[in-house]
């Protein structure tokens, strides 16, 4: 929470001035009944029409001043809240960008999105409402008590008791309902998730004819939500009536005891009218505050969630070195090329995971060479790629890139040097050209065309009516899976990376296209170090080095021919595919 207060600091002026103006407005508002009391006590009693007219003018002036104060306060509140919200949102986003994958995994992307959007907005609304309204009720109460105290300390005691009672009531209702509100929200989220799942799985559900059961499940969830909403409703329903009763009974007490004091001569009839008016004002302000309580408690819960992210420290230390591949070395001399990637006894374990994802991995890859990684589902292939990108730091052992420990590099520089094609083809809203410029903002048209061509995408892209300017909606919904995958490959190539990682990213391509792609990569980018993760042994036949992974262990390493000789697992993988080939 402390972290968030920092974001309010630049707006101290608003934070002080806003409530002060509100206080002035409240005082002016309280003065109105007082003036009215004067009209009654002096104007009517003395039959002084001039006095009455003057006081009437005063009420109007008080009203104008009150309105001006209120408007200024509203403006300051809105300005403070929205600027605070914008600052917080930007800071939160920048902070998320600093977090490493370990923290991202721990927090989960969907909650992060929620925190940037909904939680920041709720926190911002809270600030706005606090300045505007929440400060009003206490001011009114305190102001009223002071005004009454000056006239009649004993009657003021009634005000104090009423204020305390209402305060206790508010506290009680808040404490009871807040946990219930968050429970309701969870139930609502569950229905949202269930709806989403049903939309995603509509074909499966209908193929199994499970619609009736799904409808039943929904109806149960809705009924369950109804019950818990009613449960909260029962508690919060007492808030307004009880506030109403307490404050009005306060008026009864004021009338009775006030009557005694009037009889004794300490109070006037006008004072009595003013007192009951104060109470009514307090009632209105309290009811406004009660209705605000939900907003404020939501804001508090949201602020805590935002703070939680801001308090998450990135566990990864950034380095300072820039990647510099030495282009002066004779690239034709493949034996003497520099070592691009080296793993030395690398083991890695995900946070909170029981088993190591990778154990004792050792290999060296020279610049321009191709590394193939093959292995079963969950063998650790993608994890190995993630380590090369330094998404995670190795638990033990050392990873060296261009002869320096990977930790010495500036992460930005490292990521610029590595082109990644992820398993899942994700594109971003915007034109195809904008997507291709992800790695390099200054990409030229010819570079773009080259990347598209090698990724086997130029044919279909140029056939589109607007070519590379074609707008992609919702992550490329208007493209087929294969087309999207080719664009993600082009996007990685467009950055002319030193190292290219293809994480099983040709699965949506048919064989002919896949083969053309691999040939083009080999011929057009001889200096690019390539890492290909695949489940097809045939895709890796020409790799300079193939790692065979099983359950995080390297069970075979070498060229295709060597592995075919020596590695049992590789033989099994290869033959499972070729066996059928032989039948031919």
């Amino acid at each position: 929470m402390q972290k968030l207060l920092k974001f309010l600091k630049p707006y101290q002026l608003e934070l002080i001035l806003g409530p002060t103006l509100k206080l002035l407005e409240a005082i002016f508002e309280l003065l109105v009944p007082k003036v009215m009391a004067n009209i009654i006590d002096y104007g009517i009693v003395r039959q002084d029409t001039g006095y009455i007219a003057r006081m009437c003018g005063l009420i109007i002036i008080l009203g104008i001043c009150g309105m001006c104060f209120a408007l200024t306060c509203q403006y300051l509140a809105a300005r403070c809240a929205f600027r605070y919200g914008a600052d917080l949102r930007s800071a939160l986003y920048q902070h998320i960008n600093k977090l490493s994958c370990t923290e991202l995994d721990r927090l989960g992307t969907s909650t992060l999105i929620n925190r940037i959007t909904n939680d920041v907005t709720a926190s911002q609304t809270g600030v706005n409402m606090f300045i505007r309204l929440a400060s009003r009720a206490p001011f009114l109460v305190i102001g009223a008590i002071v005004m009454v105290f000056l006239k009649d300390p004993q009657i003021a005691l009634i005000f104090v008791i009423v204020a305390l009672l209402v305060g206790v009531l508010l506290y009680f209702v808040m404490q009871k309902t807040i946990p219930l509100y968050s429970k309701n929200q969870k139930k609502l989220d569950q229905i949202a998730r269930h709806t989403g799942e049903n939309l995603d799985g509509v074909r499966v559900i209908r193929a199994f004819s499970r619609q009736k059961q799904e409808v039943q499940k929904f109806s149960d969830e809705c009924a369950d939500l109804e019950q818990s909403m009613l449960a909260v409703g029962r508690i919060s329903a007492i808030l307004n009536p009880v506030t109403f009763a307490v404050i009005n009974l306060g008026i009864v007490a004021v009338l009775w005891f006030g009557g005694i004091h009037v009889n004794a001569g300490g109070l006037s009839q006008g004072d009595l009218t003013a007192f009951t008016n104060y109470m009514t004002q307090i009632l209105l302000a309290m009811i406004a505050l009660a209705n605000l309580i939900v907003v404020l408690t939501k804001a508090q819960a949201s602020s805590l969630r935002v703070a939680e992210v801001l308090e998450t420290e990135p566990t990864m230390q950034d380095g300072s070195e820039e990647i510099n591949a030495d282009n002066s070395i004779n690239l034709n001399d493949s034996e003497n090329r520099e070592i691009a990637i080296a793993f030395r006894h690398v083991s890695f374990q995900y946070e909170n995971a029981g088993d190591a994802a990778l154990t004792g991995i050792d290999f060296e890859l020279r610049r321009g060479q191709t590394l193939g990684i093959i292995g079963g589902t969950g063998a650790g292939k993608s994890t190995l790629a993630a380590l090369i990108c330094r998404n995670y730091d190795a638990t033990t052992g050392e990873i060296r890139i261009f002869d320096k420990n990977i930790r010495e590099y500036h992460l930005n520089s490292l990521h610029h040097a590595i082109g990644v094609v992820p398993q899942k083809a994700v594109l971003f809203t915007g034109s195809i050209a904008e997507n291709l410029k992800w790695a390099d903002a200054d990409l030229t048209e010819s570079e773009m065309q080259k990347a598209l061509k090698i990724a086997q995408a130029s044919e279909f892209v140029n056939a589109l009516p607007q070519g590379v300017e074609t707008h992609l909606v919702q992550g490329g919904r208007n493209l087929s899976g294969g087309q999207k995958q080719r664009l993600t490959i082009a996007r990685a190539l467009a950055g002319s990376p030193e190292i290219l990682i293809l994480d099983d990213s040709t699965s949506a391509l048919d064989y002919a296209t896949d083969a053309k792609l691999r040939t083009a990569l080999r011929e057009e980018y001889p200096n690019m170090t390539k890492i290909m993760i695949s489940q097809r042994a045939t895709s890796l036949l020409h790799a300079d080095l193939i790692l065979v992974l099983e359950d995080g262990h390297c069970v075979g390493m070498g060229t295709h021919d060597e592995l075919l000789e020596s590695c049992e697992v590789y033989q099994e993988i290869y033959h499972s595919q070729m066996q059928e080939n032989k039948k031919k």
Partner: protein, 582 residues
């Protein structure tokens, strides 16, 4: 339009009629009693005229009466809140249940054609806004009307002429509120548009944070974020400020009314305006309180109207789905029995396209003997998956017919037809639930042994056992299972089901070859004697199909068995060679 929608929402309240009536009654009583309170206060004040001049008898009676009135009013206000909750939450439950049920019977084309987020938004926030705005708004409106009418009557009993003065001044606050609402409306629209864009941007960037990192795109992302953030902040500031002007402004107008009433009343009391009549101080106090209460609902009405409009537009979105055509009712069609289904399939001259201007499948015909294994190959987008949509009648053919055992599939109910197929799609579907629940989705009454048997058949038993709670581990689409593991679970579902026909659409695309090779045996066994359709990129998995269809642009360009097609040396042969060319 608005009236129709409100009326329609009221029909949803019908089962809760009782609560609606009780709400109205309680509001009437509660509000009326609360209006009496200032009258009694006035009476009490009149009993305390000055020093040594207080009528304690009268004051005592009035205060006791006042206390009773207050307590009764509070009780009725409390009851009103309870009843309106029953009414609102019950109606919302029914509406939401109906909407989710409707989604289950919408044509697939509707679900494919509408953004997922938009459909979910209708089920969740739209209905929430509907509940808040319409039902609570209704309560507020009703309370407001009762208050206005009640205070009007009370004011009339005190002084007709000043009441007329108040009524004449009333439109003032309405006009002010209306003007402000109009001004702020466009800023609100800009704000919500801006908020939507911000949400979409965040969802894209943070949702793909690892990709943002991989491309070192952070800085540019932050720049784009900052631009949009500024826009949102500016729009929000304007909208919020404009909206918040309304309250002080109407309060000022009410203040004018208050001043006018006070002055005129006081002048009347001193006899300056004989035509007004003389009022006692207590009466004036009561009248001032009435005037205050009378103007208050007008303050709120502008807010209520905005909320109502918002709620009506949300209701409209909900009704849009409820009014859309469901899949036509086919309960009078024949029910296809699994035991009677032999699996002889004939597709005759069918024609189909998703959009009328883009013809896809034209004049497509094929024939499958019962128990044959048919493979379909072709480039992405050539219409392979469309064939599945048509076979299972997710979409209806536009011409021609599909015959199952010589009977048009349109003669059967869709449900019973679909149950004849076991389908595994490339896009895996895992819902939030235990592993066992996910597997037994195809057969809810399956025993644990059957489930484990199915899992073992697809070699998923091993990894399931390693999960924290084994078969009882709760999983979801993004709970950390790999694509391959999810695919195994989807295949296990089919293993459990044992349907007469099979459709495998890239069913093993994410499973590594070794595992696939092992599952292959289970598949072979499953396909034994069953008509099966296989779509795959990996030609090795379809080599031994009985018949292979090569599709290009929605038509079959080559067909035959593997050897025939290789001998033809056409497109299939080219595809096949490239696979092993390396």
């Amino acid at each position: 339009m608005m009236k129709n929608i409100i009326f329609r929402i009221l029909t949803y309240c019908k089962p809760y009629q009782k609560y609606l009536i009780l709400t109205i009654l309680c509001t009437l009583v509660g509000v009326s009693l609360s209006l009496v309170v200032p009258v009694l206060i006035g009476t009490a004040v009149d009993d305390a005229i000055g020093a040594q001049n207080v009528n304690f008898m009268g004051l005592g009676r009035t205060t006791i009466l006042l206390a009773v009135t207050i307590l009764l009013s509070a009780v009725f206000q409390w009851l009103e809140a309870l009843f309106i909750n029953q009414l609102a939450f019950g109606t919302v439950k029914d509406l939401r249940s109906e909407l989710t049920a409707k989604l289950e019977e919408m044509p697939i084309s509707y679900i494919d054609g509408n953004p997922r987020g938009d459909l979910i938004a209708r089920v969740i926030p739209d209905i929430e806004i509907l509940s808040d705005g319409l039902l609570q708004g209704f309560a507020q409106l009703f309370t407001g009307i009762v208050t206005i009418l009640g205070t009007l009557i009370l004011m009339l009993t005190v002084n007709v002429k000043i009441t007329v003065l108040v009524v004449i001044m009333t439109p003032l606050s309405l006009i002010v509120a209306g003007k402000i609402a109009k001004l702020s409306h466009s800023s609100f629209q800009r704000q919500s548009a801006s908020r939507g864009e911000m949400g979409a941007l965040t969802e894209e960037f943070v949702g793909n944070q690892k990709l943002v990192k991989a491309f070192a795109y952070e800085q540019r992302a932050e720049e784009r974020f900052a631009v949009m953030n500024q826009e949102l902040s500016d729009a929000g500031l304007k909208a919020t400020f404009f909206a918040s002007v309304s309250n002080p402004a109407t309060r000022f107008v009410n203040n004018l009314i208050y001043a006018a009433v006070g002055t005129v009343g006081a002048l009347g009391a001193v006899g300056a305006f004989p035509w007004i009549g003389v009022m006692s101080v207590g009466k004036l106090t009561s009248f001032l309180a009435f005037a205050n209460q009378y103007t208050k609902p007008f303050n709120e009405i502008s807010g209520v109207v905005a909320e109502l409009q918002n709620a009506v537009s949300c209701a409209q979105r909900v009704f849009e789905i409820l009014d859309a055509d469901s899949e036509p009712d086919d309960s009078d069609h024949e029910i296809l029995n699994s035991s009677a289904c032999k699996g002889e399939l004939e597709i005759k001259n069918i024609r189909f396209s998703y959009t009328p201007d883009k013809p896809l499948i034209q004049n497509f015909s094929m024939y499958a003997h019962a128990g044959q294994k048919i493979a379909i190959v072709g480039k992405t987008g050539c219409g392979k998956s469309t064939i599945i949509n048509l076979l299972l009648r997710f979409y209806e053919i536009q011409d021609g017919e599909i015959l199952l055992d010589h009977v048009s599939t349109k003669q059967y109910t869709r449900d019973s037809l679909r149950q004849q197929f076991g389908m595994v799609l490339q896009e895996t579907w895992i819902f939030t639930g235990t592993v066992a629940e996910n597997i037994s989705y195809s057969k809810p009454d399956a025993t644990r042994e059957e489930i484990e048997q199915a899992a073992k058949a697809v070699h998923a038993h091993g990894f399931i056992k390693r999960l924290p709670d084994g078969y009882d581990t709760v999983i979801s689409d993004n709970s950390g299972l790999s694509q391959g593991q999810k695919q195994l679970l989807c295949i296990a579902r089919i293993m459990l089901r044992n349907p007469p026909m099979l459709i495998l659409d890239e069913a093993t695309s994410s499973i590594d070859l070794r595992t696939e090779h092992r599952i292959q045996r289970a598949f072979e066994k499953l396909m034994q004697g069953r008509t099966s359709f296989i779509i795959a990129h990996r030609l090795s998995t379809i080599r031994n199909a009985d018949w292979i269809l090569v599709m290009q642009d929605g038509n079959i360009t080559e067909q035959g068995n593997h050897d025939m097609l290789i001998a033809q040396n056409g497109y299939y042969a080219e595809l096949y060679q490239s696979q092993f060319a390396g």
